[in-house]
């Protein structure tokens, strides 16, 4: 194989490690994208038996944002296998116990219900904050784009940006708005 051919082979079949920041993201929408990466459906060489899935490292999973009343209403079912072993845990309770479980269960349920599922879940690495072990961090090669844009906090705007922003009513009023750098509008 020529050098060019070898590069092409590695580029086509090499396993990528993607980083995904789950801060303030909807886990259900994020899981749709993550499951595509884990299965390898985003590649033109995709086949179930090709083992072409990539790894996904999710950080800040403790900061996910469920829509609407999901935190209070969504329940996760578990059965120990013994009699009277059924339990229904609310999303917020589960999140307190283990901040990675909601995203893990979501991706697990979205993957195809076949024998390949367990192997694909092994390629998913979820961390509640942004502390990643070095052995995983050195593999990470790219980042997945977030689906929901994070708005900028008002108190994170600089004074210059606030003053330069176009004003609706250019009246000389001194207002002290909570959380905004003090300026006259």
């Amino acid at each position: 194989m020529s050098a060019v051919g070898r590069v092409q082979q590695w580029a086509t079949f090499g396993r990528m490690w993607y980083l995904f920041d789950a801060k303030w993201q909807n886990p259900f929408h994020s899981a749709d994208k993550i499951k595509d990466i884990l299965t390898g459906t985003h590649k033109p060489i995709y086949h179930d038996l090709n083992d072409c899935g990539d790894h996904v490292v999710v950080i800040n999973s403790s900061d996910i944002a469920l829509p609407g009343v999901e935190w209070e209403k969504r329940v996760y079912f578990h059965h120990t296998g013994y009699a009277k072993g059924a339990s229904w845990t609310l999303a917020w309770e589960l999140h307190h116990k283990d901040p990675t479980m909601i995203l893990r269960k979501t991706v697990y349920s979205k993957l195809g219900k076949n024998l390949l599922r367990r192997g694909r879940m092994e390629k998913l690495h979820i961390f509640p904050d942004d502390k990643i072990p070095d052995s995983i961090l050195e593999n990470v090669s790219a980042q997945l784009r977030q689906m929901r844009p994070i708005p900028k906090r008002l108190d994170h705007y600089t004074r210059e940006e606030v003053e330069k922003f176009p004003k609706v009513v250019p009246a000389q009023i001194n207002l002290h708005l909570i959380g905004v750098p003090h300026t006259s509008i």
């Binding site: 459906t41 985003h42 590649k43 033109p44 060489i45 995709y46 086949h47």
Partner: protein, 146 residues
């Protein structure tokens, strides 16, 4: 059957049956246990296998079509379109390539596939698909006209 002498009148039915069974056992050579060697057990498995192969010729086409569509969609997503948009626009653009060829191009000739995808994107803009800019169909009044 030609019986030309009294000795041949004693019919030997063994040879025919042997070759009929051989025909089935040849198909079951890769089966497990007695199913590969014993005719009365093998015939059950072989009959089912032949029925499956007949019925699944139809399923094969469906399976390959979904696989090819998925692969073309993957390449399209990398280039900023979707399979549905591209395939529909290829018709308008006069490119008569089927899914099999397109997925082969996507894998082995990525630059040709990219050219086709960009062609369809340009054609979409020309036709006004998925965009608020461009010519308005007859009989429609938009806000900008008023």
């Amino acid at each position: 059957m030609v019986i030309t002498s009294p000795t041949l009148l004693a019919r030997s039915r063994g040879a025919d049956k042997y070759w009929k069974q051989r025909r089935i056992l040849r198909l079951s050579a890769h089966y497990y246990g007695r199913r590969q060697n014993c005719y009365s057990i093998a015939i059950r498995s072989v009959r089912r296998a032949l029925q499956y192969s007949t019925l699944h010729r139809r399923l094969n086409k469906v399976m390959y079509k979904t696989l090819w569509e998925g692969r073309i969609n993957a390449s399209c997503q990398e280039l900023g379109t979707t399979y549905n948009d591209m395939y529909a626009t290829m018709d308008q653009a006069g490119v008569a390539l089927d899914r099999k060829i397109l997925q082969n191009l996507a894998i082995w000739e990525p630059r040709s596939f990219r050219a086709l995808a960009l062609l369809t994107k340009a054609k979409q803009e020309e036709e006004g698909l998925n965009s608020l800019d461009g010519p308005v169909p007859a009989g429609v009044v938009t806000r900008g006209m008023l």
